[in-house]
Amino acid sequence: AAGVIQSPRHLIKEKRETATLKCYPIPRHDTVYWYQQGPGQDPQFLISFYEKMQSDKGSIPDRFSAQQFSDYHSELNMSSLELGDSALYFCASSLPSGRATNGEQYFGPGTRLTVT
C-alpha cells in the first residue's frame, strides 16, 4: 500500500540558510500534518492543512511557513535556520473528512535536518 512520502530524507544546512521539506500524502488523503521531533524529545505538532487551507497551528516558529497545494502535497519552508532546528520532521496524512472514523494519522519516514 502507498505510504506518505517525504523528501529529502536527510538534509544538512548551515545556520541562517533556508530549507524546504516536501510531503506527499497517501493518495486521496486530504489532510496533512507536520511534526518536529528533536533529539530525545516527543513529536511536537507544527501545523496542519485540510483541503489546502490551514486548519490548526501549533508551535511553529515565525521563521517557518507551510502550504498545501492543489495536488494535496505540502511543503514546509524554513528560513534563518538555527542550530536548534536540527530535528526529525515528520509529515502525516489522514483520510478525507466523513470517511475517517478514528482520526488515524499515517506518518511518513521523516526528514532528518541537521543545522551546522
Binding site: 516527543d42 513529536p43 515528520f90 489522514s94 472514523t101 482520526g103 506518518f107
Partner: protein
C-alpha cells in the same frame, strides 16, 4: 486537551504480556483514547483506539473502565521487535477538519530476550 500520565519506562521479556496504563483524569465526554507506537527514527504508528469498555485488534487490546479516567494498553506475548515508545493520546475526533496529535511523555518499552 486532557493531560495524560504514563510510566516513563517498562521492561519485559519475550513472550510475556505487557500492560501499559495511562491516566487521564480530566477526559472529556467526547474524547477518544488513542495509542501510537514509535520506533527510533521512525514516524509514530497508530495501534488502537477506544472510547469505552474493551477494544481488540490484531496487535493489541485496550481496556477502558467505566469512569474512563484511565486506560490500559495490553500487548500479548511481546517480542524483541515490540521495543519502542508507546504514546497514549486523548482528544476529540473531528472528521471534518483533521485532528492535531499532542504527544507527551510516552512509555519506553524494552523487551529483553
Amino acid at each position: 486537551l486532557a493531560k495524560t500520565t504514563q510510566p516513563i519506562s517498562m521492561d519485559s521479556y519475550e513472550g510475556q504480556e505487557v500492560n501499559i496504563t495511562c491516566s487521564h483524569n480530566n477526559i472529556a465526554t467526547n474524547d477518544y483514547i488513542t495509542w501510537y507506537q514509535q520506533f527510533p527514527s521512525q514516524g509514530p504508528r497508530f495501534i488502537i483506539q477506544g472510547y469505552k469498555t474493551k477494544v481488540t485488534n490484531e496487535v493489541a487490546s485496550l481496556f477502558i473502565p467505566a469512569d474512563r479516567k484511565s486506560s490500559t494498553l495490553s500487548l500479548p506475548r511481546v517480542s524483541l521487535s515490540d521495543t519502542a515508545v508507546y504514546y497514549c493520546l486523548v482528544g476529540a475526533i473531528d472528521n471534518n477538519a483533521g485532528n492535531m496529535l499532542t504527544f507527551g511523555g510516552g512509555t519506553r518499552l524494552m523487551v529483553k530476550p
